[in-house]
């Protein structure tokens, strides 16, 4: 329908369909912070204005609990002057793609994926321009209808107002005429911040009622006509192959129809460039899910492993990392400013520590699932994925279907955290549907999800600091990790005259992928712990010590993904505000203590104070106070929600989250074996201050997580005098 009416020449095209005005827009890509992301796209968001002045909207960006389904429409509705209460939101999101001149697939309209705390930044300009364009068309239509000049008209809550005469006319009445109008970009102006009435106000999750009444919102709830159900017995160890299985027994389970071998695949991982192995497996296809599950058990599959990956052992790896960071073997030197060695030899004293962070599981609550219907020359795929474009690309690559002929229906995700950026769970459904020539839904079990994890890398970091005349003069950070990079441009980078970062190379088959703020938690844990330790050594207040490093405020270059500069003043304000809320100077009783840590990533700044007690080796978390600077706050309610959840998620990871790999196999592959933080482990409250300023809005999904481990370790030290260098902390204290 409206898709075919879009012409690239037109800035905006709208039409009046089935009694409602449908608006599609095609905007040029906005300027944005320098990133490795593709730099061209356009966007569309369908808003339907009904005759009765009610509005239906499709929220274009993927939702995984980061609230973009709410935030995106707020930006649009603000500029269109919509009455927020009048909007009904469509549950699923459809994907619209185009092929660029080089044949590359890209989003046709808005960049609909979510990750890197970037969805607000990717859509901030487009969504507002779209709303403003729609508003302008409505005003033009009203001007003609009322016979008054455009300049005399204003808009509020789905209504155009002529204040001179007090006449009003609703969007519903204007929609049909307005939809015939053409305007160009120069005719639209965006609101001044002071005129905002939706942006900056607390809005609730648009899906709230559907969630609390148990509506089928998630991929796992989706149904599809004539769809088979499949579960896959996956090789539990990395690189393992099928040895034997009892096909007959599986087929004997009532309801089981087919048993299909799925071969393993080795490929280069999109995120970290290392080799990655997708598991071999045996798919059991049945007419219902329970039969498929029983069939899988009946397979009694055994596996053999001749791959080098069979030797992978995470504890041994970590031990080796200690060797790597302490020997002085050549390593990739990513930062080297000043003369670190000379500064060390001139120092009054140096401190050297090693910090360990294990593999973190994603353990998102909704096990993966994907419906694939691969037909002769088209396909339908229904799932929850952070990057729906990748789904169409997979279908093109693995089933030979033109990506533009792949219908992708995106469902709400029961958590993403980076893991739903991976393609494995989509690809296997595509391959299986193609093989059996029927629509099929593949559902993962929890064990699959943890075993086939693309974990946050295990990381060991050595930090050495040199102090002279009460000041840090030299800093050396050396890291070894299971794959992936290093967030070496976050603070304290830029704060010391002499600064060096090294990354030891190391080949491993243990998979890694993005995990809520990839590699930021490891960096923040080591560096923010060390800064704290030195403050204590110098008998300085850890807050004042940090402020001395950060102030006077200065803009420093930022070379990691997601921003180009970092502002030490913005970081300092977060520390100050978090400390103020925590009543930082107040002395806590014996056995209680507070700790502070902060971090910059993805263009946002966050700092937290947490209060804990340690009594008879028992650790208890009490209360936390966090401040975030994410530029202009679009929905304070959900920023607070991310501050609470993101920080506690980080605490839980530091306390408990440790995946263990032995002989290439994850051994703690279920909840219970892998401890997850629960209500009783969470602080009673996380208080949030949102710093208000005029910076463009930046993300909130990841920045609150990274400071958690260091804040907690620093608080534990304050409470107990014991400093923790190894995660998970629950191995050192009773929790």
């Amino acid at each position: 329908m409206q898709r075919s009416t879009i012409s690239r020449r037109h800035f905006l095209k709208s039409s009046f369909l089935s009694g409602a005005w449908v608006l599609s827009l095609n905007l040029p890509m906005a300027a944005q912070a320098k990133t490795k992301q593709p730099s061209t796209t356009g966007w569309s968001l369908y808003v339907r204005v009904h005759k009765n002045n009610q509005v239906t909207m499709e929220s274009p960006v993927m939702e995984m609990g980061q609230f973009m389904r709410t935030t995106g429409p707020m930006m649009f509705a603000e500029e269109m002057d919509l009455d927020w209460q009048s909007i009904t939101f469509i549950r699923d999101t459809r994907l619209h793609l185009k092929r660029d001149d080089e044949g590359k697939i890209d989003f046709r309209y808005v960049k609909a994926n979510t990750g890197g705390s970037h969805s607000v930044r990717w859509t901030w300009e487009y969504l507002r321009k779209a709303g403003a364009a729609a508003r302008q068309m409505l005003i033009q239509e009203a001007s003609e209808k009322l016979g008054v000049p455009i300049e005399e008209l204003s808009t509020t809550r789905n209504t155009v107002v002529h204040s001179k005469t007090g006449r009003t006319i609703t969007y519903g009445d204007l929609a049909e005429g307005a939809s015939q109008r053409q305007i160009n970009e120069s005719q639209i102006t965006l609101k001044n911040k002071n005129a905002f009435s939706i942006i900056g106000t607390d809005k609730r999750n648009i899906d709230l009622k559907d969630i609390v009444t148990g509506k089928p919102l998630f991929g796992i709830d989706a149904e599809y006509p004539n769809c088979k159900q499949a579960v896959i017995a996956r090789a539990p160890a990395i690189g393992a192959q099928i040895a034997s299985y009892d096909k007959k027994a599986a087929l004997a389970v009532p309801g089981v129809q087919q048993v299909v071998e799925m071969s393993s695949q080795e490929e280069t991982h999109w995120f970290n460039g290392n080799v990655q192995i997708l598991a071999a497996g045996i798919a059991v296809v049945a007419d219902n899910l329970w039969a498929a599950m029983k069939g899988k058990a009946a397979l009694n599959a055994t596996w053999k492993n001749t791959h080098d990956a069979a030797k992978e052992n995470s504890e041994e790896r970590i031990k080796k990392f200690y060797d790597l960071v302490t020997d002085d073997s050549p390593a990739e030197r990513s930062k080297d400013v000043g003369n670190v060695d000379e500064a060390f030899s001139n120092a009054d004293f140096t401190v050297e520590r090693i910090y360990e962070k294990p593999l973190h599981a994603h353990a998102l609550m909704e096990p993966f699932n994907c419906i694939a219907d691969i037909r002769d020359d088209s396909a339908t795929i229904i799932t929850g994925h952070q990057n729906p474009k990748a789904i169409a690309e997979e279908a093109e690559k693995y089933a030979g279907i033109d990506a533009l002929k792949v219908e992708v229906i995106s469902k709400r995700m029961g958590g993403g955290f980076g893991r739903r950026y991976e393609r494995d769970f989509v690809r296997e459904a595509i391959l299986l549907s193609k093989k059996i020539a029927q629509p099929v839904k593949v559902t993962w079990m929890r064990e699959d999800e943890i075993e086939r994890g693309m974990h946050d890398p295990a990381c060991v970091a050595r930090v050495k600091a040199g102090v002279k005349d009460g000041k840090i003069t030299s800093w050396f950070y050396r890291q070894a990790q299971t794959k992936a990079g290093i967030q070496d441009s976050c603070f304290p980078e830029g704060l010391f005259e002499n600064f060096r970062v090294e990354r030891c190379s190391n080949e491993t088959f243990i998979p890694a992928g993005p995990w809520r703020g990839p590699q930021h938690p490891a960096w923040a844990f080591a560096n923010e712990s060390m800064i704290d330790e030195i403050a204590y050594k110098l008998d300085k207040d850890p807050l004042e010590f940090r402020l001395d490093l950060l102030l006077p405020a200065r803009e420093l270059p930022y070379t990691n993904w997601g921003a180009t500069i970092k502002d030490s003043g913005r970081m300092a304000i977060c520390f100050q505000e978090a400390a103020k809320m925590a009543d930082w100077k107040r002395k806590r009783p014996k056995g209680r203590g507070i700790g502070i840590a902060g971090h910059v990533c993805h263009g946002s700044y966050a700092a937290f104070v947490i209060e804990v007690s340690v009594i008879d080796e028992r650790l208890q978390l009490h209360e936390a106070w966090g401040a975030i600077d994410c530029g202009l706050a679009i929905n304070p309610n959900h920023i607070r929600s991310q501050m609470e959840g993101g920080f506690i998620d980080g605490l839980n990871a530091a306390l408990f989250n440790k995946v263990k790999v032995e002989d290439g196999k994850v051994t703690n592959n279920q909840f219970g074996l892998l401890r997850m933080g629960k209500l009783e482990d969470a602080p009673i409250e996380v208080h949030t201050t949102i710093i208000s300023n005029d910076h463009e809005p930046t993300g909130v999904g990841e920045p609150p997580t990274a400071p958690a481990a260091a804040a907690l370790a620093n608080a534990i030290f304050a409470a107990s005098g014991k400093r923790l260098y190894r995660q998970p902390f629950a191995e050192s204290f009773q929790v």
Binding site: E366, Q642, I648
Partner: protein, 155 residues
């Protein structure tokens, strides 16, 4: 073996169904009641929490065979109607508790069972009885929402 039980007030007489099947899958796949969620299948996460004779129970661990004569309530049957939500659901909305939302049916069912017995639980009592996992860590709002629901009950 023939058994009968009630789901959300409706009598169910399951035929041609594997009696070993856990209630979770019967609800989701046979009854198409998708509000009850699968998280682990071994009773560890609480995503599948329903009420059986008023008690919060993890439905992934309950085989159909054990349900004869039982009264089962799921998230779909918690509210009197879509316009007359249960106090716990109202409180969840008031506090805007969910993040991804996946664990929340189970959290709500656990909270409703707790409040049915204890009209005004303390933080400690809430922490003790609510052991459902939320990876999004919406925990502080869950605690607040339980207190809010207690107030709604009173009113």
């Amino acid at each position: 073996m023939t058994i009968k039980f009630k789901i959300n007030g409706r009598t169910i007489d399951p035929t041609n169904v594997d009696m070993e099947m856990p209630l979770l899958w019967f609800l989701r796949e046979t009854q198409k009641l998708k509000g009850t969620k699968f998280g682990c299948g071994i009773g560890q996460c609480g995503a599948c929490t329903v009420h059986i004779d008023g008690e919060a129970v993890r439905s992934c661990t309950i085989p159909l065979a054990s349900l004869n004569g039982k009264d089962i309530r799921t998230i779909e049957g918690l509210a009197k109607s879509d316009n007359d939500l249960h106090p716990v659901q109202q409180a969840w909305i008031e506090i805007d508790t969910p993040q991804c939302g996946y664990c929340q049916s189970g959290q709500i069912m656990a909270a409703a069972a707790l409040l049915a017995k204890n009209k005004n639980p303390t933080d400690e009592e809430i922490d003790k009885s609510m052991t459902n996992i939320c990876r999004c860590a919406s925990y502080t709002r869950i605690r607040k929402a339980v207190h809010q629901a207690a107030k709604f009950y009173e009113a």
